[in-house]
């Protein structure tokens, strides 16, 4: 656990959930990855990507482990290319349905 930051900490005020990264990550993964499970390379704990901590205002999206705050994933688009630094030890993503099927949710 990290120490809760004081109310004057505007960096803490802008921390988001991994949920908010799913739209951008769909460029690469084709599906919503909020329910993908990711094992932290540092502390080894597994959490849903949607529950990770997201820092979205740096030059790239930086996803951090909600348990130890270590970097799990970096993602950026630069000049027509996508950069992915996937440090998660194991990422388990629900598979997409065949293209002609809706999930009917």
């Amino acid at each position: 656990m990290t120490e809760p930051a004081g109310p004057s900490d505007t960096t803490a005020a802008r921390r988001l959930d991994g949920n908010a990264a799913a739209g951008a990550l769909a460029d690469l993964f084709a599906v919503d990855v909020t329910t993908a499970r990711s094992r932290c390379p540092s502390c080894g704990k597994t959490s849903m990507l949607g529950a990770h901590h997201l820092y979205a205002d740096a030059p790239a999206l930086v996803l951090r482990c909600p348990h130890c705050t270590d970097v799990v994933l970096r993602y950026a688009t630069q000049q027509g290319r996508i950069l992915l630094d996937l440090r998660a030890r194991l990422l388990t993503i629900p598979a997409p349905a065949p293209a002609n099927e809706s999930n009917g949710a």
Partner: protein
């Protein structure tokens, strides 16, 4: 085949005519955007130190009190962030890297700055000596706020601002270059805003 959004334009197009705005940048005016890739660390001043290392180990260590009595300089500089904002005439105070690195080994050609929270950035020694880089602990006459890198950050204003590591604690002198947090992620190794060195390959 994207849908055009009638009347939508890129925001923030303030320009300057005095030649002080590097290509692709805009003038952030009075704003001072905060960009962060992680939580803001908080190291109490009585546990804070600044160290200079080389490959064989620690060469210097200053506690907060010792750092505060080193020879100080006041600088007023323009800063340029790779996310395209620039800010003009920013005023800082701190210690020149010429002072902190004055007995660097002759084999050293690069510096890797390391921060609380794990951030790193690499710089050629030639870019941080000769009055071009400082470790600063005040901004605009006041102690540097944590969100802007306090208690102390690197200031290397002639390069993109990611090189000016917030919360700096360690300067490691190296004979070979070792890319840092953004430099290993597609950002330019040198980062000169006037050459628009944003991404590797620019």
């Amino acid at each position: 085949m994207s849908v055009l959004s009638r009347g939508f334009r890129r925001g923030r197009s303030q320009e300057r005519s005095d030649g002080r705005l590097p290509p692709g940048q805009y003038d952030a005016g009075d704003g001072f955007p905060v960009l962060s890739a992680g939580p803001t660390p908080s190291t109490p001043l009585d546990r804070w130190d600044l160290t200079v290392h080389d490959e064989t180990g620690e060469r210097h260590r200053w506690s907060w009190e010792e750092f505060r009595v080193l020879p100080r300089e006041a600088v007023s500089v323009d800063i340029h962030c790779v996310t395209t904002w620039s800010k003009f005439d920013t005023r800082w105070e701190g210690v020149s890297l010429d002072t902190l690195l004055q007995d660097a080994p002759t084999t050293a050609r690069f510096v890797l700055a390391g921060s609380d929270g794990g951030y790193t950035t690499n710089l050629p020694l030639d870019d941080v000596t000769g009055g071009r880089a400082w470790v600063v602990d005040t901004y605009d006459g006041r102690p540097l706020a944590p969100e802007h890198g306090g208690p102390a950050r690197l200031l290397v204003p002639h390069l993109y601002f990611w090189k000016s590591a917030k919360w700096v604690r360690r300067l490691t002198l190296l004979p070979h270059d070792r890319p840092g947090f953004w430099e290993t992620f597609g950002y330019h190794n040198h980062g000169d805003p006037w050459l628009e060195q944003r991404y590797s390959g620019d």
